[in-house]
């Protein structure tokens, strides 16, 4: 049950994290579809982190959830934070030029999704997925 932490400062760091998440998912026996889901979620959340907070870190944990091997990820940054989380979670809402699918879409493809944020305090998002 390993734990790895990656710092995110530039887009090329995201590639490393995605590879590490893919490896963790594989070693937990994830199907190709579930591996794709969690790697896609990782990509979405890393991009948000770079766009809004410029930097942050991602912790990758291989745990057991409901008796099944799971991969849990924590995305933590010290960026501006989100004033209105329910608005940010709304479909089609975007504070920049995107489709506004990032957060609601990520929540939909993960079995567990938890977000904590307030202005000036940064943002912490935890996701978990299992086979």
């Amino acid at each position: 049950m390993g734990q790895l932490t990656y710092k995110i400062r530039q887009p090329s760091d995201v590639v490393l994290v995605k590879n590490a998440v893919q490896k963790a998912a594989k070693s937990q026996g994830f199907s190709l579809l579930n591996t794709t889901r969690i790697v896609t979620a990782t990509s979405e959340l890393c991009r948000n982190m770079l766009d809004f907070a410029q930097r942050g870190e991602v912790r990758i944990q291989q745990l057991s959830k409901q008796g099944r091997p799971a991969v849990c990820l924590v995305f933590a940054d010290e960026g501006p934070g989100i004033a209105d989380i329910s608005q940010a979670m709304k479909e089609g809402y975007s504070s920049r030029n995107s489709l506004g699918m990032g957060l609601p879409g990520t929540r939909r493809i993960m079995k567990e999704f938890h977000i904590e944020s307030s202005p000036g305090e940064g943002t912490k998002i935890e996701i978990c997925h299992w086979q």
Binding site: V15, L33, T36, T40, S98, G102
Partner: protein, 148 residues
């Protein structure tokens, strides 16, 4: 920092792009502008993007594909995305992405056939032929030959 580029091949009246690496943001944005520049340069009628080697498409990449299709459309070209893996398709739908304006086909063969169909039907537009005749004064005989 990165100066990598995704190669774009000219294939007759089409552009052929095969994505075989993980598309990070800069690379994707560069691809977008390269495709549009090349489509303009070669008067391309269709753009085929093969993603059979791509293991993940997130909302950013989805937006890039939609952008390419919209820009291409404004320049009178159609865009076909080929070879999407089933897991990628399922995840895209679950994310809520519809890839507006992008045609899809199972593989490159089908993609080219689809482009032939899409662009072929557009060629039948008589207005287009008049415009071409006016612009290309050097080849009136060739245009006439096609009409026969």
């Amino acid at each position: 920092m990165h100066t990598d580029r995704i190669p774009i091949l000219k294939l007759g009246q089409y552009l052929l792009v095969t994505i075989q690496v993980d598309l990070y943001d800069e690379l994707a944005e560069r691809l977008e502008s390269d495709i549009i520049t090349m489509a303009r340069k070669h008067d391309s009628r269709g753009i085929l993007i093969d993603i059979s080697a791509v293991s993940m498409v997130d909302s950013f990449m989805g937006r890039i594909f939609s952008n390419i299709a919209s820009m291409a459309k404004l320049m009178d070209a159609e865009t076909v995305l080929t070879g999407m893996q089933p897991a990628v398709a399922i995840t895209l739908v679950e994310l809520g992405l519809t890839l507006e304006g992008v045609h899809t086909a199972l593989n490159v063969d089908d993609g080219i056939a689809l482009l032939e169909q899409l662009v072929g039907s557009y060629d039948a537009n008589p207005l287009e032929e008049i415009v071409e005749e006016e612009e290309e004064e050097t080849e009136p005989a060739a245009d006439g030959a096609i009409d026969l």
